[in-house]
Symmetry: C2
Subunit: 139 residues, 2 copies
């Protein structure tokens, strides 16, 4: 059963960045700000091969994303679950994330998987299996 209630979906769709957390082997968790887009019950994040967080996801298969509104009372929630690195059919998601990154009106033309692979670009997909630390949201 989905853990994503309609208010949580709406909240996720109203924001564009969050703080991603991954688990390095034998080290403290890593947090960094990322742009995301929701795809049904998954959160998609664009990154490149070689980044610590990408290696962590490949090894550990888990990640979380804490999303926060930008005004008092700062509504927020943390979404977590199994995570994986995708390299196939990632053109449309990568283009959607590029649009969010630059803040343009329209998404750029999606690139082919081959073109994205040639620059090491991948998508991290987090399955939303758990929602925690919900604050100031009707959820």
């Amino acid at each position: 059963m989905s853990v994503l209630t309609p208010p949580l979906r709406e909240f996720l769709d109203s924001q564009i960045v969050g703080v991603m957390c991954t688990e390095p082997a034998g080290a403290h968790p890593l947090q960094s700000v990322v742009y995301y887009v929701r795809d049904d019950e998954r959160l998609l994040i664009s990154s490149v091969v070689g980044r610590h967080k990408v290696g962590d996801v490949e090894r550990g298969g888990w990640a979380s994303l804490c999303v926060m509104g930008n005004e008092r009372p700062f509504p927020s929630a943390t979404f977590s679950g199994r995570a994986e690195v995708l390299t196939e059919n990632i053109g449309p998601a990568t283009a959607a994330l590029a649009q969010r990154f630059v803040g343009s009106e329209e998404a750029p033309q999606p690139q082919t998987d081959e073109a994205l692979a040639s620059v090491g670009r991948i998508i991290v997909a987090i399955a939303i299996e758990r929602v925690a630390a919900v604050g100031h949201l009707d959820a």
Copy 2:
């Protein structure tokens, strides 16, 4: 030597909330949004006994805080280090954090440690020993 450059100090002092991450024993990291105030090379956070993050800090002695600006390009950095739970002389920091929480002009009168202890209120102090994932900041 301090890892806090002047631009990082300024950035920390320009924001009031961040995403705190702690390490539960035998479980995935926990992320939640918290108000913070900087005290020299430490970040102070108000919480209450019994919260998961407080137990994690007591057991693990580590935490991180990812702070993000609220507009594109979303300047951000993650501050981490040894963390501890304080119960003495916490009145002024607790009052400063209460002011940030409610957004009032002035901080409330600081309470005594005894009064704060009676409601389980504590301060988590994170020593800023490491700065990572710096983005869109001259640091």
